[in-house]
Structure formats: structure tokens, C-alpha cells
């Protein structure tokens, strides 16, 4: 009797282990499938358009005649949004995190943190309309040169979208710094500000940097808000008040249109998606490397 139930238990254990392994493996399969599909169409694309022209060309007009396939305008558009969003989200996010972890009373924290989470829960398409109908008119009052579609509104809104993530992660990073470090500072007569800026923040730097990388990755991949607010004009410019097009917005434009599948224009979708994929991947690798380099391990 005991032998029978032991066998059954071993069989159950084996099945469960394989089941859990399979669930974990699903993510690997999905990533492999995505890479495979992207690669296949991208390589077909590069049979017609030389890689150098694609990566260094400054005109992107696959939907107009005559067609040009230089991706730099789309990259410039994405960069404008990312840099703008970083300028909005990172300082405010880190400052919020410092307030929440160092200065806030328990009551203040219990109110502010949930409200931050609400910001994160607003759908991105709503942010896009918010940019188009509220932020752009506001910008046009301050800077009359602003066009109706512009990179600045989209960047501001993406920054707001990413802010809760930055604040939350930095908050966690700062709270992970052992209290003993703070106490040491106070006991030496340092002020709150000195302890925060000279001891706690440098100690939590690797976590703060992880937050930066995550925020930038999110901003690169942001689709709905930029499609609605930033425009559909591939434009190689550094002026955030102009209409631009990001890589993600271009993918939306082509997917919603009437491009026949298998055509060269259809393949540009995959080529641009590959560039997006590679840039996010490189960013993650960079982030992991820097994080490891700056990590402080406390006993």
C-alpha cells in the first residue's frame, strides 16, 4: 500500500514539474517566435534595400512616390520622444521617490503612492487624446510656433505615463538602503538633506539606474500616445515643436492602411520592428551591465 502511494506521488511530482517548466518555457518560445518572424521578413527586405541605405539614409518615404528607405527620420522622432520623456519623468520621479522614502509621513505616503499608481493605470490612448486636446493648445499659447502635431506634447505625456514606474522603482531602491547608513550619517551631525543626497541616493544608484533604463525602454516602445499626438511626418529634426513620426507610429500607420501583404512596403514594417527590438534589447543589456557595475552589496 505504501509503495503504491509513493509511486503515485512521484508521478504527480514529475508531471507538475514538467508543467511548471512548460509554463516558464512559454516565454522562451514566444521570444523565439517573434525573433524568427522578424528576421525572416527583415532579411527579405534587405535583399531589395541595402542595409547601409536603410540605416544611414535621411529620407523615409515608403508610402509616397518616389520611395526612399532611410530610417534616420523615424529614429530621430523616437529619440525626441524618449529624451523629452526622460527630461520629464526622471527628475520628478527621483524627487518623488526621495520624498516618499525619506521625508513623507506614513499618512502622506499612503495617499500619494496609490494616486501615483492611478496615473500608471490610465490607458495610453487616453493620454494621447489628452496631449492632443489639452497639452498642444497649451503649448501653442506659450510657444506660438508649435505645430498641431508635435513631439513635445507627446514627450510630455509619455513622461507622465512613465513617471509612476520611475517613482516606484526608485522608492524601492532607496528604501532598500540599510537604515544603519542613515543612522551613521545622522550620528555624525549631517542634515536630512546631506544624508539623502550624499549617502542614500549614491547607495541606491544602481536601482535608480534600473528605473531609468526601464523608463526609457517603455518610452521607446510607446505607441498609442505618440501616434495620436506626435504626427505622421517622418522628419529628421531636433526641434520638438515640429510634427514627427516615431518608429511605432509608422508601424501603426502601415498596419491600418491598405498595404498588400508581401510587398516591399509591407516588409518595411518588419524592418522597423527589428530596429525597435534591437534597440530595446541593447538598452536592457546596457542596463544590466551598469547595474551590476554600480551595485553595492551590504552584509
Amino acid at each position: 500500500m505504501a509503495e503504491l502511494s509513493a509511486k503515485k506521488t512521484r508521478w504527480n511530482e514529475w508531471v507538475l514539474e514538467k508543467l511548471f517548466f512548460f509554463c516558464a518555457f512559454v516565454s522562451v518560445i514566444t521570444t523565439a517566435a517573434v525573433i524568427f518572424i522578424l528576421l525572416e521578413e527583415t532579411l527579405t527586405f534587405f535583399e531589395t534595400v541595402p542595409v547601409l541605405e536603410f540605416l544611414t539614409g535621411t529620407r523615409w518615404t515608403p508610402l509616397l512616390e518616389p520611395k526612399h528607405y532611410g530610417i534616420l527620420p523615424l529614429v530621430a522622432g523616437t529619440m525626441l520622444i524618449v529624451i523629452g520623456a526622460a527630461i520629464v519623468a526622471l527628475p520628478i520621479g527621483v524627487a518623488s521617490a526621495i520624498f516618499l522614502s525619506e521625508y513623507a509621513s506614513h499618512r502622506a505616503r499612503s495617499i500619494i503612492k496609490p494616486i501615483l499608481e492611478i496615473l500608471a493605470g490610465i490607458p495610453t490612448v487616453v493620454y494621447g487624446y489628452f496631449a492632443l486636446t489639452f497639452i498642444t493648445p497649451g503649448l501653442r499659447v506659450i510657444l506660438p510656433d508649435t505645430q498641431i502635431f508635435n513631439a513635445a506634447s507627446a514627450a510630455i505625456v509619455v513622461g507622465i505615463m512613465v513617471l509612476p514606474m520611475v517613482a516606484s522603482l526608485c522608492d524601492d531602491a532607496l528604501r532598500a538602503v540599510p537604515a544603519s547608513l542613515r543612522h551613521g550619517g545622522y550620528s555624525l551631525g549631517a542634515t536630512s538633506f546631506e544624508v539623502t543626497t550624499r549617502i542614500v541616493v549614491p547607495a541606491g544608484l544602481s536601482g535608480i539606474f534600473a528605473a531609468f533604463v526601464l523608463a526609457v525602454s517603455r518610452a521607446i516602445g510607446e505607441t498609442m500616445a505618440v501616434t495620436l499626438a506626435a504626427g505622421a511626418t517622418p522628419n529628421l529634426t531636433a526641434n520638438p515643436l515640429e510634427s514627427i513620426q516615431t518608429m511605432t507610429a509608422y508601424i501603426v500607420q502601415v498596419s491600418l492602411g491598405d498595404t498588400p501583404s508581401g510587398s516591399l512596403t509591407y516588409q518595411t514594417l518588419f524592418a522597423v520592428a527589428s530596429v525597435l527590438f534591437v534597440s530595446t534589447l541593447m538598452l536592457n543589456i546596457l542596463g544590466t551591465w551598469v547595474m551590476r557595475k554600480f551595485r553595492e552589496v551590504y552584509e
Binding site: T61, L64, E65, I148, F149, T233, N235, L256, G257, D258
Partner: protein, 328 residues
């Protein structure tokens, strides 16, 4: 627990049924079913008005009108996903060939006239007319025009801000085809949007703006915009219902169409809807800002539907008017 299970199963079953259930359709035929329409944003105001009026006449019929753009609509039409495609340009050669390959017979029905209006901001005091040549110089792919001064020396030395429909728009196809000589040939640095209201917002807020879209949208916003007279070789003509109707507003006047799948005519609700469309398009077109065709055109369209005459009048014929004063 079991009670909750039974209750939820009942709710699920109730929700599953009844998608094609005939609703109280009033008196006589009690038509039911669906009519699927999609296509041009230019034609949409008319289709929407027709669908609304038709709801009063046959409340059992579900008419859906999408706005995927002329090209997007044709794609669905050729996939047999919709019964009627609204188009602001005639069917292309490639689309016609695809219909032949797929065995789809279609009837091409003009429903109204539209005049693509070139508009500027009301504070623009220097432009009163533009020739088609100048339009081409502004809009052609490798255009060197960046300021108003580049167009005419006496105009201000300020940057022109361009606005136009996006690449999925039939209006875009038609305008580029007629002005630049090749469909979809256009400079790339203009603010593109399939939503004409966005273009209106942009032009009305920018003193040095120039844009183009369908006449109905201009008519609705005459207080915020000013139309430019276009000189196509016969002198500058402003777009008005009269000039568009008699063809003098050239070359930017064009008929707008609906394309009907002959096979869909077998469905009684589609046939009835098309009959209603052709009867009311004349008056409704004017209401929404387009220009009615001569009654003979509508009669001809109805005859074509009755006889199920398929094909496009543009087969083998040039689909777009040639510019009379063009310097290709």
C-alpha cells in the same frame, strides 16, 4: 455554489443567442439583416446621413459604415468582407484586376460631386488664386518651395506650413494624381492626417498654412478658413456648389462613388438599402455639403443596379483629368 453555477450558465446561454434575431420591424416586409459599408472618409458624411434616414424606414436592418479610407475599403471589398465600398476616386487598375481574379462583379455608382478645396488661414491676405502649376511646384516630391516667396516673389518670405490628407486617403490619391501627375507622388514634409478635422484645426490656427480636403469640410468651417481660387487654365475659379456641379472648378472637381458587390444584391436588405441610397443621395448630399449630380445620373445609376451592369466606366480610359495648362 451550485446555484451560482446554474445561474451563470443560464446567463451565458442567454448572452450567446439572438445575434440575428429579427426585431419588431413594424409594418410590411420587416426587412432584417446587415448591410456592411466601408471606405472613404470623404463619402462618409453622405453614407452616414443615408444610414440614419434608412433606420427610420427599415429599423430591422443593421447598417454599419466604416471609415478605413478608399484604399482600405477596397481591400475589404475585394476580400468580400463588405457589401459596399465608398470611394472618393475610381477603382485602380490593380484593384480591378484583383476583382477579376477573385470573381467579384461590382457596380460603380456615382453619388455626388466633390470639389477638393485648397484652403488657407483667413489672415492670409496675399493669396487670392493659385495656378495648378504653382500647386504642382509646391506639392511635387522634390519640391524646392519652402516659403511663400518661393511661389511668387511678391508674397511674404515666410515658411509655408502644409497640411493634407494621409496616404490612405482617396482625396490624397486624387489630388496627387491630378496635380503631380502620378498618384501618391508628393513631398513628404506636410502634416498628414486622415481626420480632416485635425487639418482644419491646424490651418485655422496657423497664418502661413496651406492645405486641401473635401468641400464639405470647408463648407462647415467657412468662418475659420478661406478657399483659394484655382486656375486650371480657364481662369481662377472658386469652389462653389455651382462651379463644382458644372465642372468649371477643374481639375479638382470629381465624382465620388459607391461600389456595390453584385452578389450582395441577392440579399434583400442590401438591394433595398441601395435603392434608398440612390433615391436620397441627391438631397442628402447637399445637406452635408456635397454637390448633387444631375437627376439623369441617378436615374442611370438606378438602371445599372436594376440591370446589374457590372464594371467600371474607367476601364482602359484615363481615370484622372489631364491638366490643361500643365508644364510637365
Amino acid at each position: 455554489m451550485r446555484y451560482m453555477l446554474a445561474l451563470s450558465i443560464m446567463v451565458l446561454l442567454a448572452a450567446c443567442g439572438g445575434s440575428d434575431a429579427p426585431s419588431n420591424a413594424g409594418e410590411e416586409p420587416g426587412l432584417t439583416g446587415a448591410v456592411r459599408m466601408d471606405g472613404s472618409s470623404t463619402v462618409f458624411p453622405i453614407s452616414e446621413a443615408v444610414a440614419e434616414e434608412y433606420l427610420a424606414e427599415a429599423p430591422g436592418v443593421r447598417v454599419t459604415v466604416g471609415v478605413s479610407g478608399t484604399g482600405g475599403g477596397f481591400k475589404k471589398f475585394l476580400n468580400q468582407e463588405i457589401d459596399i465600398n465608398a470611394a472618393s476616386r475610381p477603382i485602380k487598375e490593380s484593384e480591378f484586376d484583383k476583382s477579376v481574379a477573385a470573381g467579384i462583379r461590382f457596380i460603380e455608382l456615382p453619388v455626388a460631386f466633390d470639389g477638393i478645396s485648397v484652403v488657407v488661414n483667413p489672415e492670409n491676405t496675399w493669396v487670392d488664386q493659385l495656378t495648378t502649376d504653382e500647386l504642382q511646384r509646391i506639392w511635387q516630391p522634390d519640391s524646392v518651395v519652402t516659403t511663400w516667396k518661393d511661389v511668387r516673389a511678391e508674397w511674404p518670405d515666410e515658411k509655408i506650413r502644409l497640411y493634407g490628407p494621409g496616404t490612405d486617403s482617396g482625396t490624397f490619391d486624387y489630388f496627387t494624381g491630378v496635380i503631380n501627375g502620378k498618384e501618391q507622388a508628393s513631398r513628404a514634409d506636410f502634416t498628414a492626417s486622415e481626420d480632416d478635422n485635425v487639418l482644419i484645426q491646424g490651418i485655422s490656427g496657423d497664418r502661413y498654412a496651406l492645405g486641401y480636403f473635401g468641400f464639405a469640410y470647408f463648407l462647415e468651417n467657412q468662418d475659420k478658413l478661406r478657399a483659394v481660387a484655382i486656375d486650371g487654365g480657364q481662369g481662377p475659379i472658386l469652389p462653389t456648389p455651382i462651379t463644382i456641379n458644372d465642372g468649371s472648378y477643374a481639375p479638382l472637381s470629381r465624382p465620388i462613388y459607391i461600389y456595390l458587390n453584385v452578389a450582395s444584391l441577392d440579399k434583400p436588405q442590401v438591394a433595398d438599402f441601395v435603392r434608398f441610397y440612390l433615391e436620397s443621395a441627391g438631397s442628402l448630399a447637399e445637406e452635408v455639403g456635397y454637390i448633387t449630380l444631375p437627376e439623369a445620373s441617378y436615374a442611370g445609376a438606378r438602371a445599372r443596379v436594376a440591370a446589374r451592369t457590372s464594371g467600371s466606366s474607367y476601364q482602359g480610359e484615363p481615370r484622372l483629368p489631364k491638366l490643361t495648362a500643365s508644364s510637365e
